[in-house]
Assembly symmetry: C2
Homo-oligomer: 132 residues x 2
């Protein structure tokens, strides 16, 4: 898969998150591959149903802090692309990985994992990203 396609899908993932758009979030997750989602502090969610239920809960929270991704880097791994980035979530900084697979000529998410980062890099301008 073209890593630029994964970076584009990574932007779409954070846009769906920011805009609390459950339907857009649903479109981003893979339908014909296993999916894995690990929110900070959570156990692993290992089915599409459990993953989407979690997003419905998270995105329906009216007090959800703004999320701003930065330092997105794409790594081609066989036919998948791993995007590593940081998430500024309110006053917290998280390290995140998003793994994309091709389905119907689109990059769809099969894995998202985010955890607290104690020593993040300095923020970059929003949207900065690199194919490694």
């Amino acid at each position: 898969m073209d890593p630029e396609l994964a970076l584009f899908a990574n932007d779409a993932f954070y846009l769906a998150f920011s805009e609390q758009d459950v339907a857009a979030m649903d479109r981003i997750w893979a339908r014909r591959h296993p999916v894995i989602c690990i929110h900070p502090g959570w156990p692993a969610l290992l089915s599409r149903t459990a993953v989407m239920e979690s997003w419905e809960r998270i995105l329906s929270n009216p007090d959800a802090p703004e999320i701003v991704p930065h330092h997105a880097r794409a790594f081609v791994m066989e036919r998948l692309v791993m995007v590593v980035c940081y998430e500024a979530l309110g006053s917290q900084m998280l390290t995140a990985t998003n793994l994309f697979v091709a389905e119907d000529d689109k990059a769809r998410l099969v894995h998202h994992q985010a955890g607290l980062c104690a020593q993040p890099p300095d923020p970059e301008p929003e949207g900065s990203r690199t194919v490694q």
Copy 2:
């Protein structure tokens, strides 16, 4: 890749960790693919050199707590296999993902990420594991 091969390599990863065996840890990480390692609270390490330097530091700590993996689950993703498991690390519980690629008929690690888990599942007998 046969997911059993990835589960075997996952066991080898935690054995190298437990036995503080830097050479064994080095053999587990991929040589011809990008590698990504995110230790709990750390920023992402994005080169093999940085990843192995981190393991040399971690594995040379004489006070390192015991690490016991459990609930290992393998998911085939195209030609890669993602193993999701929990790490009992002293009194802490972490959720971890380990992504393996085939190199020279072996499963080698291209991604490891671990973060604190506030609500882990009950421990299973050591070594329990499943291909999904």
